[in-house]
Subunit: 215 residues, 4 copies
DNA sequence: TATGAATGAGATTTCATTCAT
DNA sequence: TATGAATGAAATCTCATTCAT
């Protein structure tokens, strides 16, 4: 057995890692509960039970219920963002986009719950309200901005290479692409999360590039 | 004072119209409340207050809270469906689609609340759960089926006329179209319901037909 | 039997009186609970039970626990003030003071609970904090100001008639008198509220006028 | 490094002094917290934080929350008592009283928190309840008894010397004096602890001896 | 039938105390 | 022995629903 860490630094490090583990366990549990019971009625008690901790413990890690949900959302966005960044290495911008789309779909397919939150909570109404009332909480805004930037930059490169139409504003293109992604996820969700979301990514990409018109 | 209507039929008719008026007032009020405060926290008391009736009165017209929300949703879908049917007269299927899209957008633009509900309540998770657990309530299912049918029929006609690619399954096309519509609404909603949704419909239609690829 | 009030005004009046009755019943109950169990641990559930209403009902009349306690305090101050005003008719200012003192003592003797609150809650610390932090809630401040005025005016008259020393500032005299009253109540309270408080009022008055010095 | 004390006695002494230091630090911290946040809502966590120790540590020195508060109160009373004893040397009983009053005021002026506790906790209601229910805890009773004795003895001496009225019972005189002291403190507290309490002691003494009556 | 207050089950949150390290 | 997080009982508060008028 290794000697127990007797110094303060060691103990602090251990404590920190335990804290992180608890935090994560609670968030994971919350996602599972939401996946199972829906978002509208999540109960703190259920989250605690699912995480295997006492009700009060959740409050050692999160100020209140809202903070838990907010954290889930941010963590999800963060993870999607990482997923998208994984495509950076690809040289061809179109291929990069295709890969990003696939990455997002793969991530979402594994975590339907996140999407529920994305759409039902801050993801949609509350978040909108924030925008409207200008109280925009930094973290959210920033994440969305990063999404937008990533897409815009890639599209710009594609236009520069003559791969993509110039007669539509970059912003509109980005919106259509983002919208298509949302759309597919949305429809997939509406259909009860069948296990085929990521297969749709090539179809989406084809439609994005060529449209439905007969050749 | 005017003499009261003495025949039973007349009295029944008056009563019925009063009932309908109350019902509608409550539904309208509920939509306003949801638009304003978000869906997650709608309170029966708020709905009643907004409608200008007592809390108890709502229960004379709806079994419970769920019934109110369900009614809003159905009424909204119904109205969108009517909007789409208005395009039936157009001879060219592509024009019909363009018109339908515009119609839906115009309707949604005027009633963001509906969309909130569409996505946040039955429209999304709960409704999905129902599908999964096979409790599918008839009304919902039927409405969605009618949407699908309408779109499928129109697309089929367009394919038959050689206006649309044949290499993609009709169902996938319909899904992409429906998805694009959802997508635009979704993005529009995410941006705080700016007053330009219906303008986007031509852009959407163009993208649907021709895609983003450079010519 | 009188005909039931069928008009809106009548019904509103009835309702109003019922509301007032409930409010009073809750406040009375709260005082009883505090007398019995002490102030520190008052529980909303106990108050509701003592008042014979459901827990939730209390919240139809008071925003929260703090509001209940605040109301008790204000009501008590108000009632003491009324008690003091009853002495206005007396012509001799010294007799008026004697009567006021007796009145206050009689009131307090019947309601030990009020005094607890007066000293333990807003009456003492919280209220002080308010003064210090300048957030003085109007109602409290005003009540105390009225007490002070009443006493000052009476003392001024007594000085004018040559009944009271001129070599001590009016404010100091008022403070000593008020302090003596507080003091006796305080001591009485400390001794477990024995049933002799109001008898002390003449003693107090004598001491206030002549002091302890041997003649 | 200095050699560690190797004898048992020395080590025990060091340990004892460390324990005392912790105990005192916790009590001081608790007084500060109460002064700042009021008595009603003191939290063990706040006390610990203010003392710079962990929450659990407090329980190594005090059985529970009640024990902490009780200790503060006793310590305060004890210190006031010491203050009063300092006047014993004075030969003239009236001067002794004047000095005692000043001593008490000086002490209280420096530690408003004690007074809060004196009035809000055991000092007032709870403590009364104990008296009433005959559970009287020895320590409290004894402290108050000592106060009373001290005052009674001094007044008795003053009466014997013909300095104080004989027509009022010693007990009543003591009560009036004690009451006046309480009164001034009370008023001072009610006014937000202005920095002039000890100046009032001569005024109080004058009033106690001569009263408010015009000469 | 409209009213609006009462109800009380149930949710969130707090915090004194315990306990493993 | 100090630490500081876990615990969970208990308190506060909310709000859908009921019900007497």
């Amino acid at each position: 057995m290794a000697p127990p860490p007797n110094n303060k630094v060691g103990r602090a490090r251990v404590r920190e890692s335990v804290r992180t583990a608890y935090r994560e366990a609670i968030l994971e549990a919350a996602e599972r509960v939401i996946s199972r019971d829906g978002f509208t009625g999540v109960k703190m008690a259920d989250i605690a039970a699912e995480a295997g901790v006492a009700a009060g413990t959740v409050y050692n890690y999160f100020k209140n219920k809202e903070a838990v949900l907010e954290s889930i959302k941010l963590r999800g966005f963060e993870q999607i963002h990482q997923q998208m960044l994984a495509a950076r290495a690809l040289e061809d911008p179109l291929e990069r986009i295709r890969s990003q789309v696939r990455g997002v779909f793969e991530y979402v397919e594994g975590r339907g719950a996140l999407f529920t939150i994305y759409m039902q909570h801050g993801g949609v109404h509350e978040w909108i309200q924030q925008r409207i009332h200008k109280k925009g909480r930094g973290a959210n805004q920033e994440v969305f901005a990063r999404f937008d930037q990533l897409t815009l930059a890639t599209l710009e490169e594609a236009v520069a290479r003559g791969q993509v139409r110039e007669d539509i504003a970059l912003e509109d293109l980005a919106e259509m692409l983002g919208g298509l992604i949302d759309a597919l996820m949305f429809t997939w969700f509406r259909q009860g999360c069948p296990p085929n979301l990521s297969e749709k990514s090539d179809l989406l990409f084809d439609m994005f590039l060529h449209g439905a018109h007969a050749r």
